[in-house]
Symmetry: C2
């Protein structure tokens, strides 16, 4: 396929390199297609990968991959001009500076509300991200499901991690209670996959380590 | 440990059963500890599991597990009365009726913003939820990482799923573009795990199937 990768950062380079090696025709859409940095990039990837102004790259492509920071996305889309009927792959995340969080939505959570209602308790968010059947048995043929756990009190989190581990889960520390903003969407994702998208309840997430 | 499970729904039953079999002292905190339904529940779990009013169960416990719907959480916490120093495990999710979404936060996403800026394109959210190193090589010793993909145009999503699969990912359909509200927090979670919580970038999520 003819693929335009708009943005030549680390993600753009990684996917462009793989697709080019697989035989796809890959063109980076960049502001300065002829500068030294771009030449070095193309040389390192090889495989006939090209660079062109964003508009030209997008125009010629079947699939346009938006691999720029979210803050640059609107301008990059404007530079593409007509994307009529094109497939546009959005790889962005609305990150705050220094990866402090997401700038869109996600500014509250049930976990934080619970902590506010129980100010004297040491609240740990856990056991929210999968279904009851997985809670009863998180051991899959392949491996154990992961359970992410977050909270502000390290001792409390350690105790809960122990109890969750005893259930058979691979326990992963997800940070402070504010991370409930991330664990609750993960639950919603599981719910959608299980109940709306036809996968059923015998699915679950595991964090792999290389 | 002495564990109070507040709420006797499916999740509460699953975890209470496992913990009781492991030798923990488990008491359900419920409104009606002596009704027929509760008796049947205790009989089915066995292992010395008891039921008590929420306050009594919480008072006697080392760890209080809040396994009620989020809408009932504030009242349940009130019923616990003093939770001073107690470990409170929050298993709730702020679900909308019929699991339509989350009622707290998560009402917008970059993916939807992108779709708004490119109204003529067929936007697919993909390749946002892990790092560049994993994009270049998503094959782990254990298995391939999963990549969740969402979008409103089925054909476009199929094409992108093909391209993402060629990178070596196990591709999972996460539904319409609105699911960007869930995939972006998943990215933030990966970022936190990799960069803030000391796991490094050689980690990633996989969806297991039983």
């Amino acid at each position: 396929m003819k693929i335009a990768v708009v943005g030549a950062g680390r993600v753009g380079q990684a996917i462009a390199g793989s697709w080019a090696r697989l035989g796809h025709s890959v063109t980076f859409g960049v502001r300065h297609p002829h500068d030294e940095k771009t030449h070095q990039l193309l040389a390192s990837i090889g495989q006939g990968t090209r660079a062109a102004p964003v508009h030209d790259a997008a125009k010629a492509a079947d699939v346009v991959v938006l691999a720029v920071p979210f803050g640059a996305a609107e301008e990059a889309i404007g530079a593409c001009k007509g994307l009529k009927g094109k497939i546009l792959v959005d790889c962005t995340n609305p990150l705050l500076p220094e990866r402090a969080g997401l700038s869109i939505g996600h500014d509250r959570s049930a976990g934080e509300a619970i902590a506010g209602w129980a100010p004297q308790a040491r609240v740990v968010k856990a056991l929210n991200m999968t279904g009851a059947k997985n809670m009863a048995n998180p051991k899959y043929p392949e491996a154990a499901l992961s359970m992410l756990v977050c909270g502000d009190d390290a001792d409390a989190k350690r105790v809960v991690a122990g109890l969750v581990g005893e259930l058979g889960f691979d326990v992963v520390d997800a940070g402070p209670i504010e991370a409930s903003r991330l664990l609750e969407p993960l639950a919603m994702l599981w719910i959608n996959l299980a109940f709306k998208l036809g996968n059923g309840q015998d699915i679950g997430f595991r964090l792999l380590r290389r």
